[in-house]
Subunit: 349 residues, 2 copies
Amino acid sequence: MSDTVPRPTLEAVAARAGVSRATVSRVVNGGDGVREPLVERVRQAVEELGYVPNQAARSLVTKRHDAVAVVIAEPETRVFADPFFALQLRGISKELTAHDNQLVLLLTEGRDDHTRVARYLAGGHVDGALVFSLHVDDPLPELIQGAGVPTVFGGRPGWGDGTRDVVYVDSDNRGGARAAVRHLVGLGRTRVAHITGPLDQTSAADRLQGYRDVMGDADPRLVVESDFTPGGGERAMRELLDRCPEVDAVFAANDLTASGVLRVLRERGRRVPEDVAVVGFDDMVPVAEQSDPPLTTVRQDIEEMGRIMTRLLLRSLDRRNTGGAAPDPVRPAPSGEVLPTTLVRRASA
Amino acid sequence: MSDTVPRPTLEAVAARAGVSRATVSRVVNGGDGVREPLVERVRQAVEELGYVPNQAARSLVTKRHDAVAVVIAEPETRVFADPFFALQLRGISKELTAHDNQLVLLLTEGRDDHTRVARYLAGGHVDGALVFSLHVDDPLPELIQGAGVPTVFGGRPGWGDGTRDVVYVDSDNRGGARAAVRHLVGLGRTRVAHITGPLDQTSAADRLQGYRDVMGDADPRLVVESDFTPGGGERAMRELLDRCPEVDAVFAANDLTASGVLRVLRERGRRVPEDVAVVGFDDMVPVAEQSDPPLTTVRQDIEEMGRIMTRLLLRSLDRRNTGGAAPDPVRPAPSGEVLPTTLVRRASA
């Protein structure tokens, strides 16, 4: 255990800088109303002594911890296996760092740990939370609301009637899916299949809805449920070829699923796109560009989603902190922000 | 913003369970001295009301937050690109979850953010910290000691004279490197090169030392410094082939580096292992097994390292909490635990 060296105090900094305790405190908390030469002397003393302000004391003044939690409602292993989360975290990390806020990622092994996460959120360790990857029957949103922490959700939450006062950022999953399927139909394909994501997530349900907007629900053999993973994509594609060998196009619910689909088609000797055209979703660049053949897909700006969520949260925390602006009587606060998606054509369709 | 529903209070739970406030408090904080039927009634009321104990109040009693920070002194992008960290986090996450402790991963964009990390650690949000991937001149250890948080380091810290009272868990990097190089020499190779990691990290410096234990420092052209990444491995291998085309074996400082080495050898038409034998380090299973040819490497148990670090930290926190056992007068507390490494033979050497 690193021995706990006594921490330099505010008093020690004041003595070293030759100023009052109050001046040090003001500088440490932002420097308002302190003359520049004094600020400089205090900063130097802070540096020389290696003084770390006590956040608990500091937050008594500012009522802020300058820390935001990120909660991904998936087991820790999936968080690191799926580049989707890395991209979202990249956007969040950049945005929080730009505002000198600490990113606090709360990892779990599974749903049994969600009560503990809520306890941490309720404990006054963060100013707000960004919450991802919720499944319809997940108790986490209730727990988080119980914890009383301002929250922005990633993806449209699937519970209730949608009128609850939640803020979320989402991509246009349904519109993107329609564009993908219309593209396949435009290529003259008549047996267009869809391999879905987990249908208890709104992103997967919305993409299925977009597929149905174009295809109706004529041939139920052409829709196979899967789980957003390459292995799941392989299994679903095998099942699809067994059920309906004449399939000539596949819209896969994400790029990882599409990578599994391409592997099975290669293994079965079907040419892409000549025999079967394939479209993915996400435009996860290393996956989509390096796949064989390179993948036509629906692009969503995952990193930007993370940034926008963060901005919405920080803005709302600022409003709270400045006493809270009166609610605008004309326009209610928007409950969701939906980012556009675009079809990116490569070789697979 | 999710509207902050009023949080159910301790009083509400007491009323629902028909017991006193004090009884609820005792049950919530571990249930000591409360009869089982009462415990049951309180638990039921807690569940029905969705009561989340106030961690701040709770920790006034237990002096614990049941939360441990993990700090990786690398930019967020590297944390997600290098499977090494995912494996370590897996071990930590499993162990913390088994003890109902929350894993709090503090991500940063770079060194400029380390002061903020130290501020968060000093703010009383976690009981202790696990700290990884320190570079020799990194100010983070000082900052963390200033924050006064019990800490276990991953990897032998490179600063000072090594006698400072720090606890760390490491792998036998030097012994593993010796085994790798002896294996290459045993195959009859005479031009055995080493592509190192970043030499401001002890793991890389120790592996170089192990190489020198066997090879001496006869031919300085055979040692090329690199950075533990596939791209770095490619660049270093090109340089090595330019400097010393007659090279017949490469010990790469980790498996990711080795993957870059194999790519360049293939590109240059050198057969592995016939023309050049290659050994890696880590035994990062998907990388090492799926490389072409499968990689001979030095195995370290990365996940187990994470687990052991966590156990050491939790044990030390328990000692603190129970008032601290008197220090053993005969045997001082060990400052480091070093795990064995083993050579795993596959096709590349």
